[in-house]
Symmetry: C2
Subunit: 503 residues, 2 copies
Amino acid sequence: MPASRIRLFPLLDRIVSADQAASLVEDGMVVGMSGFTRAGDAKAVPLAMARRAQLDPFKITLVTGASLGKDVDRVLTEAHVLARRMPFQSDPTLRAAINRGEVMFIDQHLSETVEHLRSGQLGPMDYAIIEAAAITEDCGIVPTTSVGNSASFAILAKKLIIEINLGQPAELEGLHDIYIPTKRPTREPIPVVSCDSRIGLSSVQVDPAKIAAIVVTRQSDSPAVLDAPDAETNAIASHLIRFFGREVAEGRLDLSLNPLQAGIGNIANAVLAGLADGPFHSLRMYSEVLQDSTFDLLDTGKLLFASGSSITLSAAYAERIFGDINRYKDRLVLRPQEISNHPEVIRRLGIIAINTALEFDIYGNVNSTHVNGTQMVNGIGGSGDFARNAYLSIFVTKSLAKGGAISSVVPMVSHVDHTEHDVDILVTDVGLADLRELAPRERARAIIANCVHRSYRAQLNNYFERALVLGGHTPHVLGEALSWHLRRQTTGTMMDSANLEEN
Amino acid sequence: MPASRIRLFPLLDRIVSADQAASLVEDGMVVGMSGFTRAGDAKAVPLAMARRAQLDPFKITLVTGASLGKDVDRVLTEAHVLARRMPFQSDPTLRAAINRGEVMFIDQHLSETVEHLRSGQLGPMDYAIIEAAAITEDCGIVPTTSVGNSASFAILAKKLIIEINLGQPAELEGLHDIYIPTKRPTREPIPVVSCDSRIGLSSVQVDPAKIAAIVVTRQSDSPAVLDAPDAETNAIASHLIRFFGREVAEGRLDLSLNPLQAGIGNIANAVLAGLADGPFHSLRMYSEVLQDSTFDLLDTGKLLFASGSSITLSAAYAERIFGDINRYKDRLVLRPQEISNHPEVIRRLGIIAINTALEFDIYGNVNSTHVNGTQMVNGIGGSGDFARNAYLSIFVTKSLAKGGAISSVVPMVSHVDHTEHDVDILVTDVGLADLRELAPRERARAIIANCVHRSYRAQLNNYFERALVLGGHTPHVLGEALSWHLRRQTTGTMMDSANLEEN
């Protein structure tokens, strides 16, 4: 191992195997792990914990930044190691266990978890297992491709296990900006005043006595898997780009827009690609996850700077970008998710937030998490941190799912993650509804006219017109408000019989 | 009129009658008015506008801080002057017009309205009609018993009408702290770092050329009307005081607690009264509305300082407090509602936020605004600004309404204003549920055990047990989720027939 990776030499004695490190974790412990959207997660010790549990069953509360690489949550779930899990996940095996009620999942705003830990509402945390690119001479832990909650976990946990990952480029050092807010109620303002503000240190300072074990690994992050863009994602992007153009024409924004946040996935990638082609320039991002499209936009020169909490790339992009990270380093910063998602900073910078909805209703309430109001998909993630405090809160989704059996626009969402108060703009492949300063009845007309797929438009309009007869500020036919979800469960489609005949 | 009230003498020429001032407002205009929870509202010109509309019909968009004195919204509604109204109201006549769909009501987080105005998403604003205690030599408008949105309205409106109210004590001058955030995306941190931070000026600086008219009035604010405390409000207060005691015992808070926000009404008053009797001391408030109980707590010496956006008192308290306001002035500050409710400051100070729910469900989602999901009551007000960003987000309500025909704890709320992610503690007269770090199934058991009235407990538990059989992270019997509301509409009570037989 290169000496540059553990520069506080007495720590070399703490290098152990993953199995030895895993044996330190005891039943009932609260364990923090690095990892945010597959990036920078601990890779060896969690799998060793799962192996150990086959012979020596034990259960933990696992707290991370966000989702982990694709095997960790699966393997830990299959080994029955997870009693409790927070604040986000995206693994199919874990998701199924959550929905069976076997794992207690606490679905939190991503900016809030470490506040709860710091104030003693969560924890105490027994171990933090953190992937690092290096440990400095003064016991600074240098994160890898994400910061997530790693800094506060490392500071607040009783003991640390560090995975030094030689597969992560040493050049990541210097990319991170580690700033931890002071204690409440005597906290000072967080001094981020622009996307490129650097306000902290490049590593996480910890007491070397807390480091219980060091494990050396060489494994890359799990690559992001993106579906190819399609007609619908391109249509959504193009509606949104036209909307930005109108905002510029009306003098509310200039061509550099306001700092952008884009949720993870294809639609966000399509929007960023669309920005590359338009008249916009001198763009900046203040986001959570930096994806392939962020680097494309940096390459065009249209994006000047990107702030995030992780870099999550497809395999091809990972090879190219991490092989040449110095080329991008002065235009990037990775921050703790508490800072990338902090309400204070998001409100101050006037962020344009673009996030994906699972479904939304005629009044603009958004469901990001629950199929049929009951089955968890991934969790709210950072969407609430951004949507609530953004200058413009935009939600996007395809108008149809499951080949048309599901309309993403419904009379009433079956679960609310973002209320009408926090949703300014809705976009589907059909079009864009600008809900700003509209009352609920006006919102409904804008959404039905612009967002719902034509195969459901008459059916939705019929619902709304009958609701209007019953009256109210937010008219509903309460006995039918969730009937579309129930019909899908019983008949396989949200379409009512009259509509089915026509379509 | 005392010369001290208009100290920029050329403005004396602009004094006109209320009817003359009202004639300036034209059909289709956007009009801002001072006023926050009945305090400091414009009193003469709005009524003159209503009189004028009888002969000369016209309609406006009316934007205020929050609710107005009890006659203004009623009279304007009856005169059909209101086309659009935002961001809050609490008048029965206006409420009925909103629910009939005659007035388009935009129900907004109270911290956000002036952001929309400043960025051109709302407006432009043609007139601002602002009550003032005085106009200074350098054309500073001195607000009266509220700041609300008055400062930004005065700065951003094209023209101003000032009501100098001689009935408001001249000694209010010096009470206000007027700070306007700089423009986004280049905004600086808001420098409030404690409840007593003073960061601005004592008046709103405007260009004298913008003042189109001055009207002299002498009318007091409408007094707050509080029901007497009863067994239920006292029980809620006592559960909450015991909870604070436990938090202190567990070392998460000390006896000075964190800064307190309390929503308007009897329950908040009962909680503050409870704090006066307990072991707590050196308390501070960072709230919206300062009510009778705030002054009682200041009088005991337990409350050191109170920051708000308005002072709304009962008739007896108003006479006593405003007759002797100098006694309190160094322990009070009134701020723009954008600052009293700012996410940045609320998160920084670690506020304990206590707000009232209309109903909540077994997973902790809160409805603050809509009866049966359709009929607006008042609006979300500042509850979302506080609940989302608080250190502890607490919602309180009586367990029963309408003599037991309504349970405030239901399977699924009919409208969501605060999602499960934003609700830490729920309290009814029955007890307190601590939802922190609990998964939905655990939240449901805590809520059913601690918050629901015994007359509905078996019925709610029956729902939850049947939902568990169907499974999911957030189990529901979707076809019955809103059945309690429907049953109330059709049978007059939420009780099902089995339950009715037993009770």
